[in-house]
């Protein structure tokens, strides 16, 4: 099922692949762009949320009378202000406002709306919550034990045979694979088995969640704020508040980063519930501490990987067991971890078993390629060790076992056209790969994979009466996607890029759009935009045909003009878009094109990273001295923003590998809920991040696009881990590979040697 256009196949794309300035650029370099916290409304109140200081506690009573009596307080809400909701929304409701039990430190228990921040803060202090503190557990392996404190008294593990009869913190078992791993290991000459642990990290977007909402007594409501998916916000909030979807209009502001962390709701329904009670607009902006404690970091994990190979480097079997804690609710991304674990290898015998574990931590949210980086760290580390054991080049080792089109993926289905082999070959040929290393340096290589998907998508194109183009899409632009939409539309129309403008429409203007996630926007909204443009072109050809009095089929479109073709070629002067648009009123009305689709055919994406790391033997500090990302983009629409995705994803992965972690105390409280102690990479930590874009077209998109946003965070943990392991001569099995951890490893090794 190839949708590849001849244009793309012939390399005849004129604008796609160039690097024009982004349409929202001037606003963003001058401070004019309006982000979540920049909204105001007349009569606006300030909302503030009271959060549990305990990791696990029964809420015996909440007394809000003193807070309500404080001058300037206009509304106080608790769980009682929300009614019954559909079963599918229960966990979401219980996460945004504790019902009966506080399940993690920072869990919302009440909220106030007041005339200013100072009054709101005082009001929170006047709310009296009677807690019965319960035993807690935050560590994934401890939480999975049968005698761990139970987060839900009635949770039975699904996916186990025989069925579970005793409650535990394990919500599900997932298994993927094929063949017979026992037989495969019996054929192996060398087997390596190790356990790896990763700590939870946060998406770390610089913009805290912020929402302005207004809800009147007639049930009409509006929300304005930062999200990766305003349709998701609308539908979820409508469900939580028991109002009609059509009565809630949500406008997505500019969004200051998301990386998966803004794919669900936190303060949005609270804002609406407060506004409903106070009958005034309410704004809640989270503090950074709240972002760390009460949004959705990723899972921490413990993963065992076992791989067997023959002496000549063929993998005979691969087996993994994954434990991911996803916070106090079911739904860690462990099944995607299990699916992605061995995706970079063509295997006859493979198995991956994932366990979804609850712990007294905030409910995890998606983080860029959710679930993949942790297990791929483990797999790529074991692969590296095996290649070294047989003295084989690690790229050659991967090439020998890499899947190609038609091979069965480790998670089941067969692959379509994929570019892992080309990407590995490009890595091997890259000057970085053969550059000399200095003392105390190591070089690591790792591969990574993400699925990508399409989803529900709408696009609307209106032709102005001057022949310029407005594109409306429903997917918030996080990384420059409006520029890509404009490029694709300009390409289709054959007009200059600056005659096209893309906007993100509010929920009342288009049909439902899935969230900006899954690396889907350039692929899906791009697909819909191209189809919308083609519909508008069809309409303009029809108008031209009527003007000329010739059949519609006898009109061609090229370079922004309708042209008579076939027997009529040359009979009439071509009509420009501006001319056709100018006569729209006389030829039938406004000219538009639209497209609504649930897109499939998103191609999977592979990347390979090369990392050089230098270790200071005195302090254990790691410095990344050189880093290169190679990845298959299918087709890069705007290469500068594709490079930006590669670089940004790689650096998030470097942070995860080296420094970032959620640190919990014995009391179950997060000890580093701020940017000073939660150490994200800064400019002085890093070298330039080299990139190389490989283009193996995806047949599911007219120009061959694959999503590129998520794959770049998958390889870095393994690439950095392999580089560090080479530099210190010891296998690193835990993240973060922080100075104290490496120093301890090195000194215990030295002591053992002495």
């Amino acid at each position: 099922m190839s949708r590849l256009t001849e244009k793309a196949r012939d390399g005849a794309l004129k604008q796609v692949g160039t690097r024009p300035l982004r349409p929202d650029g001037i606003d963003k370099v001058t401070g004019r762009a309006r982000f979540g916290a920049d909204a105001v409304a007349p009569g606006m109140l300030v909302g503030k949320i009271l959060r549990s200081p305990h990791a696990h506690a029964r809420i015996k009573a909440i007394d809000t009378t003193k807070a309500e009596a404080l001058s300037g307080v206009k509304a106080v809400i608790t769980a009682d202000d929300f009614g019954d909701v559909d079963e599918s929304l229960t966990d979401t409701l219980h996460n945004i406002m504790a019902h009966g039990k506080a399940l993690y430190e920072g869990h919302a228990v009440a909220a106030v709306a007041a005339v200013n921040m100072s009054v709101a803060r005082q009001a929170l202090k006047l709310i009296e919550v009677d807690y019965d503190v319960l035993p807690h557990v935050t560590d994934v392996e401890e939480a999975a034990q049968p005698d761990a404190p139970l987060i839900r008294e009635d949770l039975l593990t699904v996916g186990v045979n025989p069925p579970a009869t005793k409650p535990s913190n394990i919500s599900a078992r997932h298994e993927f694979g094929h063949g017979d791993v026992g037989k495969g290991f019996a054929e192996a000459d060398i087997i390596v088995e190790r356990t790896f642990r990763t700590e939870a990290t946060h998406q770390g977007y610089i913009e805290p969640h912020s929402w302005l909402g207004s809800m009147g007594p007639d049930g009409q409501a509006e929300l304005w704020g930062c999200t990766q998916g305003h349709y998701m916000v609308r539908d979820t909030c409508a469900g939580l508040l028991g109002i009609d979807v059509s009565k809630l209009r949500v406008t997505a502001s500019e969004i200051g980063g998301g990386f998966g962390g803004k794919t669900t709701v936190f303060v949005e329904p609270v804002v609406l519930a407060l506004s409903r009670k106070a009958n005034r607009p309410v704004k809640i902006t989270m503090s950074r501490e709240e972002v760390f404690k009460a949004t959705g970091p990723t899972s921490s994990s413990a993963n065992r990987v076992k791989i067997g190979i023959t002496k000549d480097g063929r993998i005979t079997a691969a087996d993994a067991e994954l434990f991911y804690q996803g916070g106090a609710f079911p739904g860690s991304p462990v099944e995607f971890g299990a699916m992605a674990a061995f995706a970079c290898y063509a295997l006859e015998n493979v198995r991956a078993v994932g366990w979804d574990v609850l712990a007294n931590r905030p409910k995890q949210a998606a983080y860029r390629a959710p679930g993949a980086p942790m297990i791929v760290f483990a797999v790529e580390s074991v692969i590296d060790e095996l290649a070294r054991r047989i003295d084989m080049d690690p790229v050659d080792f991967r090439l020998k076992n890499a899947p190609k089109e038609g091979d069965r993926s480790s998670y089941g289905p067969k692959f379509g056209p994929i570019g892992l082999i080309q990407t590995l070959e490009a890595a091997k040929a890259h000057p970085h790969y053969s550059a000399p290393l200095g003392p105390n340096q190591g070089r690591g290589i790792a591969a990574g994979f993400w699925f990508n998907f399409g989803g529900m998508t709408c696009s609307n194109i209106n032709i102005g009466n001057d022949g310029t183009v407005t594109i409306a899409v429903g997917t918030p632009d996080i990384g420059g996607s409006r520029a890509s939409m404009c490029l694709m539309a300009a390409e289709e129309f054959g007009i200059p890029y600056d005659r096209v403008k893309a906007i993100v429409a509010d929920t009342s203007a288009l049909g439902f759009n899935d969230v900006t996630d899954g690396s889907r926007v350039t692929f899906s909204s791009g697909y819909a935009t191209i189809q919308s443009a083609r519909a508008a072109i069809g309409e303009m050809c029809k108008r031209a045909a009527q003007i000329w009095g010739i059949p519609e089929e006898a009109v061609d479109w090229s370079d922004g003009h309708a042209r008579p073709s076939g027997p009529n070629a040359g009979d009439f002067e071509p009509l420009s878009m501006a001319e056709i648009a100018a006569s729209a009123a006389r030829t039938g009305g406004p000219i538009a094109g639209h497209h609504e689709v649930n897109v499939d055919g998103a191609g999977v994406s592979f990347g390979v990273h090369i990392a050089d790391v230098e270790i200071d033997p005195q302090t254990g500090r790691s410095t990344v001295t050189r880093y290169t990302v190679l990845q298959d983009a299918g087709k890069a629409i705007h290469p500068a923003y594709v490079e930006g995705q590669y670089q940004g994803g790689a650096v998030q992965g470097i942070g995860w590998a080296l420094n970032e972690e959620y640190i919990y105390g014995e009391d179950g409280r997060l000890q580093n809920a701020g940017f000073l102690d939660y150490r994200m990479p800064v400019a002085s930590d890093l070298p330039m991040i080299d990139t190389q874009i490989i283009e193996i077209p995806n047949e599911g998109h007219p120009y061959g696009v694959r999503g590129v946003g998520e794959t770049p965070i998958v390889p870095p943990l393994g690439a950095i881990g392999n580089a560090v392991s080479q530099a210190i001569g010891l296998r690193v099995t835990e993240t973060p590979m922080s100075p104290p951890r490496l120093l301890a490893m090195m000194s215990s090794y030295r002591e053992a040697a002495e």
Binding site: K28, V29, A37, G648
Partner: protein
Amino acid sequence: MSGIHVTTTINGDEAEFICQPDETLLDVLRDRMGMTGSKEGCGSGDCGACSVMVNDRLVCSCLVLGAEAEGARVDTIEGMADGETLHPLQRKFLEHAALQCGVCTPGFLVAAKALLEKNPDPSEIEVRYWLAGNLCRCTGYDKIIRAVMDAAAEMRGA
């Protein structure tokens, strides 16, 4: 609490406001003056998104009290372009695609401008250390550093 009357200069224009003693300069700029170009990413001076100049000194406006602006000269992102003409740093950020989401961008631009005023010919290392107080989660810094170096070169006439 009674308000404090403050007279100051913002982006070259005289300005007056009344603020509470506990309000930060960032709160005043955003909530009282309607200048929302400076962003609050952390409120603790760790992310640099609220960077402004006070009397030619680069500060995190979340760590300065509004009342401290009395008699001072405050320069923010809103005053960086000269009318329709972008500052070379602003132009180079666009040309190099040195922003993705753009929320950290105002802080980076203000901080980078402060650097180039002090040191018109910084090395890559100097740029990286000067901008180490500004967090960007999208770009991995590569294109930001290139944009600053390129702007510096252009401003030197190189």
